[in-house]
Amino acid sequence: MRHSTFFWFVLPTASAMVLFIAFPIFSVLVQSVHAPHPVVLVEVETCTPLVGCTVETTMDQDATKAIREAEPLGRFIGLEIFFDRGHLAVKEVREIIRNSNSFNEVFSKLSNLPFYRALAFTLTFTFIVTPFVIIFGFLIAITVNAISSHLKGLVIFFSLLPFVVTQLIGALVLFWMIDSRGILGSAVQWLASDPNLSLKASTGVMWVSLIIYGIWHAAPFAFVIFYAGLQTLPQDQIEAAKIDGASRYQQTKYIIIPHLFPLITFVALIQLMDNFRVFEPIVGFNASAHAQSLSWFIFNDLGGETRQLSSAAASSVLTIIGVSILLFPVLFRTWRDFRERT
């Protein structure tokens, strides 16, 4: 292909990518290194019902507005927000390392800082959910592939349901079931004969619930991809293997899995990305006391009565960096395979 042809061929895609991907990311970056101007405060008489008039602190609208209009972007603060306590907490981490005697102590003190606490949950979630989603997706796919064809449609429909149901709704359904007055919560209390047992009150159990939910929700996604892949299985190879006396296990190991491997990489990539940004289950499970993620921080920063745009922007940039680090090994491997082939 000539260079000019190639150029005109990719121009629409490239410009859409610049417009809808590069620009927003760039604006988030800019936002994350700026913060609002200092606020001019004044004390004024404030009158409210049942209380009467008192002197209260409020913002001096005109003075603050003048400063804001002079520099609408805010003040440049560099990486200050990235390093503050709500994010990487550089100062606090340095102090913890200096004042701790053992690795365990460092670890337990780090978990008191929001970013590291969120990271601990997010990474645990990502690295447990992703492999299980792939394993379950694969098992469902080969099972469905083996059942008789007039049952298939129905089974596929039901297997897909968890993925079709909106994440938040699915999370809420499970959340109500594990409530201490819900069907699963009561069942566990009855089994353990302890009326005070609560699945929602323990951090460990909450993590397990979130992880089970994550697998339940995403396994159908892996299933659909793998099932599609199974339809392109080289039948002659399978037949040859059968003639050679290969067992079902051997067929799976030496023919099916290698055949599906590119799809496994694809599912792993998508799942690593998705799971690192875990958000809906935390909201749906009302789990913020036990588990938080970077995405939840962004939601929290923007949802309070006082919005923290710069902090949310910094969390977004950290999420992008985190996802890139996670994807790097998989992308690197793909790139190496590609080079070896050419």
Partner: protein
Amino acid sequence: MIKKLFYSVVFGATLLFGIPVFAGCEISARVSVVGNEFPAIQTVGAGAQECTGAKVETNLTSEHQKINVPGMQGNPAEYTSAIIANSSIVALMNEDVIRPLDDLVAKYGKGLQKSQLIKIGDNIMAVAFMANAQHLMYRADVLKEIGVEPPKTYEDMLSAAKMIRDKGIMENPVGGAYAAGWNLAQEFNNMFLGYGGSHFKSGSAQPNINSEAGVNALNMMKALSEYMNPDFLTHDSNATNAEYRAGNIALLNMWGSRAASQTTAEGVIDAVKNNHSIAGPMTVGGGSTPASTLWWDGWTVAKNISDAEAEATFIAMMNAIHPDKMKDEKIRTQAVWLIDGYKPTDAAIGVFEAAKMSTTPYPMLPYMGLLHTALGNELADFMQGKESASQALSDVEAAYVAAAKEKGFIN
């Protein structure tokens, strides 16, 4: 079609509840209201929609705080009015999206009581229509069974709870909206003020909660939580009330605006219907200031809209809080109205008692929202027994200082 539907709904409502449709509310420009969704505010929203001549839209949702500022920052603003409380007006003023109402009050504000006008500095910024506070609600039959008076202090509440549990009446008799986040922080605010704390070092935005009052407040909350449903960190007001209506709890600190609907909601058991009682807020630690906060709810008018729209909004909202509405029995019980002609109902006792006991109003400070958010995020660790009270409070202060620095309240 929609208009027809709307009229038939209004007409139907009139037949059903006997809400009089007030004549004479004619507006000539668009009105769009955003606000919270409890019964009293729904009444106000419906009242604004009675006006004819132009479209009146309402968006009443418990997520109103997330959408009111963005919805009023555009020019023209999507919402011409936001129904807010003393906590949430601060965010609107910080972003400068609401207009002073002095001229509109002078022109159309006939019938407003002076106490309804929220004055900040020289300007009227909002018109209040109801007062609110958290106070005690209890099951009279359960307290009678253990032979104690309704608790006046949180210490009494604890000992009553112990008796109820020991007698085997209820396993977890105490309820509270302790859901991690806004609710948990609000319960801390109550208790902290009850112990005589003040949130900020005087005259500055520096936090002042890591103190004896703060530690005491947390310890009392922890002690109460021992008598709560073990899922308490996920229970907001709605979930707590559901527990109460189902007869699972006997004592709770709850919003006055929910008092009337405790017995009228769906699925309330008879024991609750017949024995639901309310009283004033409780004190704690021998203090005289109740461990509660005083609130008002009111409406504002957006800045970034035409004067015609502002006028129409003001007229429609005035219609929504017209003194004639106080003749309606059902509306009267929904809240402690600040409207002329309101005669308190039994459901109002708690809030009036709170006012009489000079309960501290919720702090209307530009940086209070940040502290509230920090409290909501950091206190759950303590409630789960993962860290000490003073550690939790110093975490809150550190989280707040980081946020306040970013927003330019602290240098």
